[in-house]
Each structure stands twice: as C-alpha cells, then as structure tokens.
C-alpha cells in the first residue's frame, strides 16, 4: 500500500511566543502548556528543571522553545489529565528569563518499563528547520543509568551531555540541563 508523504517540517521562526507560550510572554491568549507540569499536591518529588540552549559560538539562544514529556512518579504517562492534575508535558520559551534560561516545575519521573528515569525533550528555534529530540537523565540515578538501553546506545564519551546535575541552593531541588547545539560538548540528539 502506498504511503502518503509526510508534511515537511519548517522552522518555528522567531515569533512563536504569542501562539505557543503566550501567557509566559505576557500576551492575552491562553496557553495549553507552560512551566508548571506538576503542582505541590502531585505525588512524587517536586523539582525544578532548568537550563539554557547554546549555539555553536557558545552564546545562549534567546528564541528557542523547549518542550518536555515525562512519566509521573510511578512511571506512568498521563492520558488526558484533568485540570490541576499532572500533565507530563511542559513548554517554555527562552526569551523571558534572565540569561535565557528555560525552567519547569515538575516531579522527578519514575522509571519507565526497563529504562532509567528520564525526560524526553523536543527543541525548536529559528534556524532549525526540523526540530531535535533529546533525553535528560539524572546524575543521581547512576545505577539505573548504567543499565539503560538508550544511554548505552550512545558513545560513552557523549553520554554526559544527557545528564542533568542536581545543583545546591535554596528552594525546591533543582536539576540543571544545558543543551548545546554544536561544539565539543554537543548534546546528543536522537533520530526517533
């Protein structure tokens, strides 16, 4: 049977904010997703996830859109959650916070069917005609990481680009995950 051709991807461009993350940028239009993936009452460990997206010259990118998708604390992916429930999905543009940081409030996911705890990321930006996929793992889950089939498919020297580091500080536990589009520590992007 003949398959229909896929509709090609195009760049999100520099002006996506009022369409995709309007509230974050102060536009009067509801957003389907944003910084808060989980609330204080969500079962699990509430965490902050933050980082920056760097270009090949080492400059932070101010017009990237980062999306995350993850399981809940028991390793289950949400299906059509009700309002105020854990959504598993977050979206943040790098144009509003100091230093072009992206940030999410979520819970640390549980392990998903034979894999270490991880979060899937999709990244869009001006200058990127097709989006990129990557994954985030946690440095403090070394045993699970060592057995993870996806991490193990990555050349050992590049696995570190997929690890989020827990950083000390006041407030909620915070994990830092920077994304590098190019360069020596170029983040691993997946063909999925």
């Amino acid at each position: 049977m003949n398959l229909l051709p896929q509709t090609p991807s195009q760049t999100v461009g520099p002006y996506f904010a009022y369409g995709l993350v309007a509230l974050q940028y102060g536009y009067p239009f509801a957003s389907v997703a944003g910084r808060e993936v989980a609330a204080a009452h969500t079962p699990g460990e509430l965490i902050i996830l933050e980082g920056r997206v760097f270009d090949g010259a080492g400059a932070p990118i101010s017009d990237a859109l980062v999306e995350i998708w993850q399981a809940d604390a028991s390793g289950k992916y949400p299906v059509a959650p009700a309002a105020n429930e854990f959504t598993g999905f977050g979206r943040f543009g790098t144009g509003t916070a100091a230093g072009n940081v992206f940030q999410f409030q979520t819970i640390k996911p549980g392990a998903v069917s034979g894999q270490a705890q991880h979060i899937s990321l999709i990244v869009f930006m001006r200058g990127l005609l097709s989006h990129v996929y990557t994954r985030l793992y946690f440095t403090d889950e070394a045993t699970a990481n060592a057995a993870d089939p996806v991490l193990n498919s990555v050349p050992a020297g590049r696995r570190g680009t997929l690890l989020a580091e827990r950083v000390a500080g006041p407030g909620l536990p915070t994990y830092r995950f920077d994304i590098r589009m190019q360069g020596e520590d170029e983040t691993v992007f997946f063909d999925l």
């Binding site: 059509a80 994954r135 190019q182 992007f189 063909d191």
Partner: protein
C-alpha cells in the same frame, strides 16, 4: 490515542521521519542554521513507551473564537485585510484521519507585522488582529479556521530578503514522534522561489507546503478558501480499526 499506545507491544513503532521531504539541519542560504544545526549525526532510538505517548488535548483547550482569528483579537472593530478560510484534513501516512487532534497557529497581520514584541518591521499593527489561534480536528480529521491573509515581510537573512506569505502551524498527533511544526504557503506566491526557508525543504517536499485555492471552501460574498491537508508520521504496523 495514549490509552491505545500504552498497550502497544514494545516492538511497535512509528515510521521514521522521511528526510526526503523534511529539511536538513544545515541549509546554506539560511544563515541562522550555521550556528544552530547539530553537527553530529543523530543517534537512532528504538521507540519505547516514552516515544509512543504524548500530550492529549481536547475541546476544553480550545476557546470559542480560537478558530476564528478575525474575531479573537477584536478590540473596537474588524481586522483589516482579506478574510480567508483555511481547511483540510489531518491524516497519518496510511490515510487514516486523525480525529480530535490539536492544531495551534500563528501568523503576521495583513501588513506583514507580527504582534510579537521583537518584530520591529516598519508596518502597522492592527489593533483588532492578534494572529494566534488553535483548532481541533473533528471526528473525521477535518479542521477549518478563518483568518486574514498574512502579508509578506522583510527579514535580515540577506539583502532584500522577504518571507513569502505564510501561516505557522503546530501539531502533536498521537505521540511525540508525530510532533510537527510547519508553515503553510499560498499558491502562486512569487517570493517562494527566493525564500531560503521554503527552498531549504527538499524539492520532493516543497509542493506539500503550498495550500491550494479551493472554490468549494470559499464563503460566497465573504471569504476565499484554501485547502491544506497535513500528513503526520504513521505507525509502522499495518493499520487496523481499534475503535
């Protein structure tokens, strides 16, 4: 979708992105790709539950005028410009319609100016046009929205660079492998042959990005109609009815 996907066997998977139609990361004429395109090869990832699930949005996420950009930004009158209807179907590669799937859209106004604060193009904002919207496909995968035909606008990529008229569209589909952000163009636009973003698409994909004028979608005495079908990645498995 996700309810079904959580039951998929571990070897179920979605078809790969077809790089014969999707743009490569490095596009020589599009300057911003130089420092932003990944330089290393993508690493293959066999789909797991993490890839075969995704966010689900429904009617509660779409406001009453979100599908009508001629109404959702009104302050003291109607927006200026040529009203158009854009409609089509969202399908997977097997031709199966994707019902109740969310499409998000954003665009410039009739003068080629975006509401976005960083757009400094010397063209007027329209107080009655916002330019962002969203729509859900119906049970047969059809969508339809009303808007103002966007204007072309200059950009700094190269001397005298102009973007062809376009509307940005964002779709989720059944899971994160089907995620798509694309742009809809208009037939006969003379700027297409000069646009490095459109031309960054392989020749086999370009025609798929151009909407078709469709008299049957036209609302007589009110708005012209354009048809734009969207095809998302399909399952690798032979499709069968599960509903």
């Amino acid at each position: 979708m996700s309810a079904e996907n959580q039951l998929l066997t571990p070897d179920a998977a979605y078809r790969p992105r077809d790089w014969a139609v999707h743009p490569a990361y490095v596009v020589p004429g599009y300057r911003s790709t130089e420092l932003r395109a990944p330089s290393q090869k993508l690493i293959p990832l066999k789909h797991t539950l993490s890839e075969l699930t995704g966010p689900v949005y429904g009617a509660s996420h779409v406001g009453p005028f979100d599908h009508d950009l001629t109404r959702n930004g009104r302050v003291n009158g109607e927006p200026i410009g040529e009203r158009i209807v854009v409609a089509g179907r969202v399908l997977d590669q097997h031709g199966q319609p994707l019902p109740h799937t969310l499409i998000e859209l954003w665009q410039a106004n009739a003068a080629g100016r975006y509401v976005h604060k960083i757009d400094q193009h010397d063209a007027p904002l329209d107080p009655n046009f916002f330019g962002g919207g969203r729509v859900l496909t119906d049970g047969d995968g059809w969508y339809k929205f009303m808007t103002i035909k966007p204007g072309a606008y200059p950009w700094g990529n190269h001397p005298n660079a102009w973007r062809p008229q376009h509307i940005h569209l964002s779709l989720f589909g059944p899971n994160i492998t089907t995620r798509l952000v694309t742009q809809l163009y208009f037939p006969g636009d003379p700027l297409l042959e000069y646009d490095p973003i459109f031309l960054g698409t392989p020749p086999a994909g370009r025609g798929l990005l151009i909407s078709k004028f469709d008299l049957s979608l036209t609302e007589p005495d009110f708005a012209l109609g354009y048809r734009f079908d969207i095809v998302l990645r399909g399952s690798d498995a032979t499709p069968f009815e599960t509903r």
